[in-house]
């Protein structure tokens, strides 16, 4: 195995692979990606496969709308072997209270500053967008027609393939420790040997806190189990992702035909639970009644790596020179990964950030936190 690298990226999820690709595209050689299992083993391969731009903070709006521009052209940009299954049929967000609707109005004002084509909709308009929707108790909603779906496995693979073509090395190994001298990174210890490097990127998603502790930093993130189920494929009957924050769920039909849906845990769970199946099916069959006849083929769980303001932390460590992190995506790492890869390449190469965002870890100490209000 190679024992020297310009940078070692820990984590072969979509974030790590996007970072590797964007660095390699700028001509950087000797990039190593460490993955202890296989690509998409963690949160990337377990996510709800949605991509949305309807956010309540400027930063998330910028990251997501810039990412969607890349998703729209990804097959060409990355020369993907397999189509990434982009579906832009929108996200319909439902409001069940005046308070929720007011928040949507506020969010849309922010979104419009970033040219995101979202609008408020009445219950009648929501029913036009989703004819099977049970509009009982719904007082309105928000809709953005360019939101949608992409296949996380194939996007992850496309970034990895493109990175490999540019010379990035993928090594199936586990990071066991990170060596530093004074406050500078000097290498990574793996179960397949030591790699000498002055730069490490923590893109370990669910395990990012453990990677932080390898350099003695207590990162302000935690991982929480969320559950999802998928059904058998049926003919296309649902165009947009349907989502509610107060009812705490999201549900979409993928281009493959299967429905994917999930909700945040009510109590702490370690893995999949029967309770989730009951709650989820009850909720969705009330709201989208024809789904009652759908057959569940599998359920699974995965981690959200949550940050204090539900927005990613993408920066170099303040304490350890050469320790970079792209963590705390709070359930939205997949949809933001195209932009995050570019930003991390800016940070590592000491370039000006491509977009005006503040994603450094110092924002928590400076108390510059604007929490993202729109998260399931």
């Amino acid at each position: 195995m190679m024992n020297k690298a310009y940078v070692v990226i820990i984590g072969g999820g979509v974030t790590g692979c996007s970072i590797a690709y964007n660095l390699a595209k700028k001509g950087i050689k000797d990039i190593i990606v460490l993955e202890r299992k296989y690509l998409s083993y963690g949160a990337t391969g377990r996510c709800g496969a949605g991509i949305r731009q309807q956010w309540g903070t400027h930063q998330n709006c910028i990251l997501s709308t810039e990412s969607i521009k890349i998703f729209e052209n990804m097959n060409e940009i990355l020369q993907t072997k397999r189509d990434i299954e982009l579906k832009q049929k929108g996200y319909l967000l439902l409001a069940y209270s005046e308070k929720e609707l007011k928040q949507f109005k506020k969010n849309i004002e922010i979104q419009h500053e970033h040219n995101i084509p979202s609008t408020l909709v009445t219950p009648e308009e929501a029913k036009e967008i989703v004819p099977m929707l049970n509009t009982e108790n719904i007082i309105g909603g928000a809709f953005c027609p360019t939101d949608g779906h992409a296949n996380p496995f194939l996007v992850n693979q496309a970034y990895a393939d493109a990175a490999k073509r540019l010379g990035v090395k993928f090594i199936k190994a586990e990071a066991l420790g990170i060596k530093k001298k004074e406050s500078k990174i000097i290498g990574v210890e793996t179960n397949k040997g030591f790699i000498e490097t002055t730069r490490v990127v923590n893109a370990a998603g669910s395990w990012s806190k453990e990677i932080g502790s390898m350099v003695g930093i207590d990162l302000p993130v935690y991982s929480e189990v969320h559950e999802i189920l998928a059904t058998e494929p049926v003919k296309p009957i649902l165009n947009p992702m349907v989502m509610s924050f107060s009812h705490n769920f999201y549900c979409q039909q993928t281009p493959h035909g299967s429905f994917i849906m999930g909700m945040s845990p009510i109590e702490k769970v370690k893995d999949v639970s029967w309770q989730f199946l009951e709650r989820m099916t009850k909720k969705i069959s009330t709201l989208l009644p024809p789904t009652k006849n759908l057959r569940i083929v599998r359920q699974w769980s995965g981690y959200y790596n949550i940050s204090p303001d539900k927005q990613p932390i993408v920066c170099e460590s303040e304490e350890i020179e050469g320790f970079y992190m792209a963590i705390g995506f709070s359930g939205h790492g997949f949809m933001l990964s195209p932009a995050v890869g570019i930003l991390m390449s800016n940070i590592i190469l000491k370039e000006k950030l491509q977009w005006d965002v503040t994603l450094d870890i110092g924002r928590f100490k400076r108390k510059e936190i604007i929490e993202e209000p729109s998260v399931v």
Binding site: Y38, L39, A230, T281, S285, N293, R295, I296, Q299
Partner: protein
Amino acid sequence: MNDDNIIVCRCEDITMKEIRDAIKEGFTTLEEIKRVLRAGMGPCQGKTCGPIIAREIVKMTGKSMEEVMTQKLRPPFGGITFKEVINDE
């Protein structure tokens, strides 16, 4: 006999040729093949295609069966409708 056209994954309609191409491309565990081809994601959850794909990987790569048979079987282990879950007929 040319067995390339045999449907290996009946849930997702995947042929032996597609499986072999994926193995040649470097996907050499059931989990990796599932992620790029969907083999094993259908109603049978890999109970039919899993052992066939595993044997093919062993044949083509020389890996041991233990290394290859890593697929996680996801519940509910058999198709079940929403209305069965919520007891509403």
